[in-house]
Symmetry: D2
Subunit: 485 residues, 4 copies
């Protein structure tokens, strides 16, 4: 089957029967509601780029299973070049949408499950890997979107899954039936789930034997019975409901997260990729985390590009672009943004083959990348707001420019330097507002902290992955203590 184009994808969403609630109402379809539409459009852009001259080369590749052209977002990476291309593509998408386009978690997830199912099979003699290849074939054949579902509700975080008062605080197998299993629980913060065809579910942490029932990974269609999506609110989300929405800032695109409830959902045998092999929960989580932490050095950098570009354009509109302190702030913003990218490129460039033959990023660099991501976007946002000026939060609605009585005042007093009208200036400001305090801030700021694991998780991995013993050996030698026992 040929790849879908953007409209075919949007139609596929329109015809989906998944159960999505937004502000207390069940949505007819996610594409045509003003609040959810931008998120669908962002992910749709991954189809658009794949069919468009200029970007097609970057956004498509060849399936290692079917040998047919596929969207790179669905690719199982098999070389360093693949790993690097993904990062470059993510930055490009970030630049084109200035939001979370939601598709990379799926990419990173399938690459991780692909590799770990191979490892499980080697250890346990199971057949997960073959099943998963068939699943991927299905994705490739039909050009589908896959969402990764990882984070559990967690309840009391000081307790393990099996220690919770409510056993469902982590998703688990509640029944084994002929031909499959029944699962219950919820996955939080699921990015793009409402815009996906398939959901892959995996554990959220390393597990012990007592937690065996939680060691489960599988895939189900998004409209499977028992699954409910509850849309998350975002700052200023209802501006999308206003006329023409110029105050939305980012006019076309947005991200979305949802709570995904699995209320006794049946999973057929052939879609189960882990079931009880708890020692592999940790490695699966870590591999997914490594891939995904590297990805953030693509997408967030693209959003950063837009923010930096907007700040620079605002400075020009106000006549401050030659001031040395403005130039210094722009240089710092670019520097931080490129630092984020550097670690992602390094992580990809130092990638290595897994036993399954697919390629994995360098985990130390991936964690270094993500730890920076938890910090720099806040600094970049601060500097963008610094350059933008206070008008960022005191300007009236853009619609007020057309108002009979006050429109003239706004046009007169909010124009920039000669030749720059108020609309030009205010729209750029609204874009900065969107990314730093509006719907865009959800992914650019908060998700940058917590997505793919919170900062403390990266610190733990960094400590574990560094070659500390080698470093100590060098120190001992150089100060004359000789070799360590």
């Amino acid at each position: 089957m040929p790849m879908m184009n953007r409209d075919q994808y949007l139609d596929s969403l329109r015809s989906s029967d998944h159960s999505v609630y937004l502000l207390g109402k069940r949505l007819q379809n996610v594409v045509d509601h003003p609040i959810s539409r931008p998120a669908a459009m962002a992910i749709a852009e991954t189809y658009q780029q794949a069919e468009q001259d200029g970007s097609k080369g970057l956004y498509t590749t060849v399936s290692h299973i079917t040998g047919e052209p596929i969207n790179r977002f669905s690719h199982i990476q098999h070389s360093v070049e693949d790993l690097v291309s993904k990062v470059v593509m993510l930055r490009d998408m970030g630049r084109k949408t200035a939001c979370c386009f939601q598709r990379c978690a799926g990419t990173d997830c399938i690459n991780s499950v692909y590799s770990i199912t191979f490892d499980i099979d080697r250890q346990y003699g199971t057949r997960y890997h073959g099943r998963f290849r068939e699943f991927i074939r299905h994705i490739h054949d039909n050009d589908l979107i896959v969402a990764a579902c990882m984070t559990d509700a967690k309840g009391d975080r000081s307790l393990p899954p099996s220690g919770q008062a409510d056993k469902d605080q982590y998703l688990r197998v509640v029944e084994k039936t002929p031909g499959g299993i029944v699962v219950r629980g919820a996955k939080l913060h699921i990015t793009g789930g409402v815009n996906s065809h398939e959901l892959i579910v995996l554990p959220t942490r390393a597990l012990q034997e007592a937690d065996k029932e939680y060691a489960v990974a599988f895939a189900v269609p998004a409209d499977t019975q028992g699954i409910t999506f509850i849309y998350g609110r975002q700052p200023s989300d209802t501006r999308r409901l206003e006329n023409d929405t110029p105050d939305a800032g980012n006019l076309y695109y947005g991200g979305c997260e949802a709570l995904v409830v699995f209320d006794d959902v049946f999973v057929p045998e052939e879609r189960i990729f882990m079931n009880g092999e708890y020692p592999f929960a940790g490695p699966l989580v870590e591999l997914f985390a490594a891939h995904h932490r590297c990805s953030y050095g693509g997408c967030k950098v693209g959003v950063g590009d837009v923010l930096i570009g907007a700040a620079a354009a605002i400075a020009e509109s106000q006549g401050t672009d030659r001031a040395s302190h403005i130039r210094d702030k722009l240089a710092e913003m670019i520097h931080m943004n490129e630092c984020l990218h550097a670690a992602a490129i390094a992580s990809a460039s130092l990638g290595r083959a897994t036993p399954a033959g697919s390629f994995a990023v360098d985990p130390l660099m991936a964690n270094v990348c993500k730890l920076n991501i938890t910090r720099f976007p806040f600094e970049i946002s601060r500097l963008a707001q610094d350059i933008a000026g206070g008008l960022l939060v005191t300007m009236p609605s853009l619609d007020d420019q057309q108002h009979d009585e006050i429109g003239g005042y706004i046009k007169k007093y909010m124009a920039g330097r000669e030749g720059v009208d108020s609309d030009h200036r205010l729209r750029l400001l609204r874009l900065v507002e969107n990314i730093t305090m509006g719907t865009g801030a959800v992914s650019y700021l908060t998700e940058s902290i917590h997505g793919a694991g919170s900062p403390q998780a990266q610190k733990i991995m960094i400590l574990r992955l560094a070659e500390m013993e080698k470093s100590k050996d060098c120190a001992f030698h150089l100060c004359g203590l000789g070799p360590r026992e």
Copy 2:
């Protein structure tokens, strides 16, 4: 006349005839519209605290003009103790409202005009100081709110007022009539103007002789003909229009800024406090800036207290409060917050008498205070979001907890550790959202950068105020170069 209580103040606003536009509609009164009400309530709290046992001692003092009790916000400070008490009061108000309560700019403005009019009179033989004392008597007698109007539209910032294509980009005298003057221009980002009885207008920068017509300071009632307020939008402002508004986060209070247009407004002689004495524009701006930069080390610190308290409470609700990294982050947040306060206290403690007899803060410390303010709230916000977790931006509407079909899911999966229900947890998260990405972020973040002057202004002052020559002398002596010529 006795001091007003909260309700009298709110009624005085209701009966005001000022022209205020919000989202394209003229407001009947600012108190009873859901979006503007929280701002009125925040400033009203300054009346409430002044009549309430417990806080009354801090919030009131005695007028040096009338000898009667007054609200401390209207006080002309006459001692170090006065300066320190103001900072302490501002922190207390910040803690009680978690927003910009809008009244301190007026406080700092009247203290500055009080002092500088004295200096102008000494130099030019004018009579501004006496007039201004009468104005203050009026304020004290009637317990009124004064808003400071400083920032002009500025047009092309690389050009001076007199060099702009549109001469009105800075407010100016356009006509001198018998008994007064007529002014035109606009003042941007005016905090609390819509909730004030009187507006004091002053220049926004140092001026040269060519800019003489811009060297004007005066006071007019907020409902003077020719004055129009255009309300600024804030992130998530329309959540206030939703039922019961629990998603607003901060349920009761908020800040507000407006564009204030002066369209040929007449100012009577006795309300003019500067008119052409351009060499004093710079000193007036600097003194106001110093007072106000010190104030930020009060109010923002109080908001920071709430944010830190909320983050700590969220950690407790999730069972992470004993984790060493959480404790470390809280310590850092407190540390930064107290640093902000420290410089304000130092600035007040090192205050000195002005020629007029009132007291001024130490300007170096005030600038140090404000420069920190332009940075730390962003860091504190980042850490608050780190502690809060991703749910901060992915949680559904709080109303959804009551929903027939999905309410149960939310209650089950968004509860915290044992004994903590979802409402408890989600409300605290909404408060953090408010301060870091919602209406509260306007003042806690962006205004922290630009209010009372942008960071570059502070750097320039810091360089100018430091005793660099003395430091160089010490260096020369110590390395054997002897005294400098």
Copy 3:
């Protein structure tokens, strides 16, 4: 007895019989050895300033015990003004010596012991406070230097004093004899001990009942039998042995620390100020720490002044002083330096009376001050090196300027802009080297981290001292959760 002048003080050191070892040799006297002389001269400067017009007012005050004039360093503070004056004096001394002048630990120590002995007496009916007043009278009468001896060897830091394999890892009472006690142990990093007349010893941490024998505080003359000082090495210390020492950078002054060994030292009854009252070890340590953490916001700021002055003078000598990035760096350096001072001033300004009548600084602000001290001097040093240029570490010996063959090259190629000869430039660079990598770095950098307690100690105190419960209450109220139980 009248106060000593500088020469009398130096003579008093020359005639001291204390046992001091430096680089394996016992010193005849500390004043006349090239390596130890600068440290003696720095502390001597506290006498010089007290007798000199101009500074006398700041450096002297009146004894609350004898009613006679005393050096402010020996004063028991009895007002906020006293607390502030101390900080201002310390900054002045730092500026005049650019090093650790060693006397403030003693000041802070006597103020702490003064207060806590009062508290112990109230609790236990002991007579320590009266004894301590007599000790202070002795100090005041004879204008003596007191060194504080606190930090123990500590052995394995994960174990308490009584849990150590070697019981002497913390100083303790090993014998009670008629008329006194015998103590054994060592105190590390003792600042200025070799230049002091008296040593006060106190515990280094909170203690439990099992550690009772370690709960001991007392004073002994520095030349008491059984006490040995072992001088610490500093970077580039032996440059002081070179001819005329221009490469020393700071030509006249320096700091010093020593290991002080107490090898069964007898302490007479009247010099014991705590002996077994272990519950007061913690409060004593904390009070001393608070006083001393505040002090750092004086002395280090003064050293920072010199470093900033030197950097600015170097920029002038090289023609870079007008470059915007240089000015920005200087502004940042000043800003950080004044931040350090701000918290010290705030800590002093918010000081309160103790039960004994003396005044204590605000402990929260004192800890905030010190935590900044553990960080900013490193940043200031980095910026100073940035402004200075690479020559800082690649210049030849200053003596080489006089060399027959190569002197001309150095003079020609290391001169600065017109009118600035190489000696001018190189001496300033040597001063920066001294403070950032030489003998001065000992106190400006490393001691800034660890002196008065390491950063982690400040974080623990900050968490403990902040009004967290009040902040949580505010958060609960504002988001609609109502009062907390």
Copy 4:
């Protein structure tokens, strides 16, 4: 000719006749003087690693000119793999020596001159590239060390070379003679020059036509007549003169810089690689800078490894290694260190072929790398000192452990936790002292700021190299302003 081994290299230095002055004395040879020996030994280690099993693979490659094995430090890079391998090798060397091993500037320089001479020839029809290939053949045939000589004296930095009062403040051609040119001037901060066989001289900045005589590049043997090296002093350099030097901290290795004076030095025609083609001065400087800025993400990271290893080992020796704040600090140190490496790896991985066929690093990432280098080592040093404790700067000489009278005290009171003697602990501390305040700090700290260009140079390049117009285009589109004109 086969490659030299370490001893052959050291002998080649011993037999060199170059004129080197150290502390006013002309050195007989640099290998056998205690102060200069460690620098020679560090560079000698590049020979040792190339002959040793285990490291040989990384340290050698094949000459693209001779087809023979060569040391990788002399290689003209011809692939991304070459670029990455260089960075990896530099980190390895940094880890093995904990100092500046001085050879990479030469590597980066020959790669730059190789490429730019090709470009000059294309533009001017000159024959520099062929000559330079012959020079490289000479280097490869004889396995020689090349030092890069770039930084001029600069005089008044606000003036160009031709505007200086003393024309020699930048090195220039003073005479053209048959068969060559005569040059005069000085090159500062020349790393490893005293340990090199050949010097390559190139301009230090972009030049205008008026500066034509300064547009000169060439190579000469280090012992050419008219060349004088004046050794730079380092903190604690004379500790190398003490017995057995355990207090040196880094017992075997060190870096060195020298002032290199060219007092009318003759350069034969065939060694001239640029002579008047001023438009290529800028590109040559930028290309060298890019290569060298990337290199810093190798060598400094290796030194960082040792520092981190030493800090971790000290924590273990004191029983603090399990404390959460210590672990957090180590994680931060590693994180920063790997960030430095990440940008270097990214810069190499994104490298591209030059017209000459050799490969150049990505310049944006190289500048990003270097800008981090100007900051993080200071932070890492601060954290290392934090973990190390105050003993770092208060410990006596290590020799004192053997002292009859005081040795026992030191052994007793400076031992660590059980099983760790004082020597173990103190040696590790001395190593940390060396890197953060001793001879090692020269390259780890100050040179990290200024080597390969000061931070402001990186900021300018970052602003210039970022794709700002593309970013602005995206911003315009997303906020509805449509395509920019």
